[in-house]
């Protein structure tokens, strides 16, 4: 697939109310932390929805870079390059 120089970020249903219902957003390559900053610039308040006061991802948000769990990579420092796909996933659990 030809790349347009961007990283494609998939937004799950639960977060689309913060992105004007956009399900996929093209961002400039960077670390996961930088991508979240870009999202927050475009959609003010987005960062506060997925990160806690300590600046870490909420424990019930999973971030995948090309099908790999960022938690097992370098977390917020994980680099997403041109053509990479990033997905945010809320945890689905209960009892």
């Amino acid at each position: 697939m030809a790349s347009d120089g961007s990283v494609k970020v998939k937004i799950p249903t639960v977060f689309r109310r913060f992105t004007g219902n956009e399900a996929e957003i093209d961002l400039a390559p960077g670390t996961i932390g930088q991508l979240i900053d870009q999202l927050d610039e475009r959609y003010p308040g987005f960062k506060g929805q997925i990160m806690n006061d300590e600046g870490e991802l909420h424990r019930f948000v999973n971030v995948y870079v090309n099908d790999e769990d960022a938690r097992y990579l370098e977390k917020l420092e994980t680099q997403a390059n041109e053509g990479d796909r990033v997905a945010l996933l809320p945890s689905v659990a209960g009892g």
Binding site: P12, R16, Y64, L89, P90, V92, A93
Partner: protein, 145 residues
Amino acid sequence: MTGANVLEMRFPQELADRMIAHCLDGRPDEACGLIATEDGAVVHIYPMFNASASPVRYALDPQEQLAVYQDLDERGWDLGGVFHSHTRTEAYPSPTDVREAREEVPYVIVSLATEPAVIRAFRIVKESWSAETGEVEEMPVEVLG
């Protein structure tokens, strides 16, 4: 249209049967999965692995969840709901279900406590998606025979 706009869950009989069969197969543990909708109608059931492997807890495996979300995109379907079983209790959200609810789609519960199984659906409405508390609102379920 997202699942959030659906006012009623309508299952074709075959898909309700598939969901119940997955729940029965999972015993004694809870079973779980995702529901695909198209224009508000249930079109597919994804039986999934319970990463908690527990009779009183369930959790989707995020890797499998990601694959299902990708499949939904490719097919043009919406995430229409989350389902899981209660093996010994009624089909009503437990305190854990309310606390852990994060997706804004209906949560469908299949109770295996009685024969035949009972299917009910709920919205768990929270002030913010990460809140620990929420209101439970039941929504009608219809199985189309």
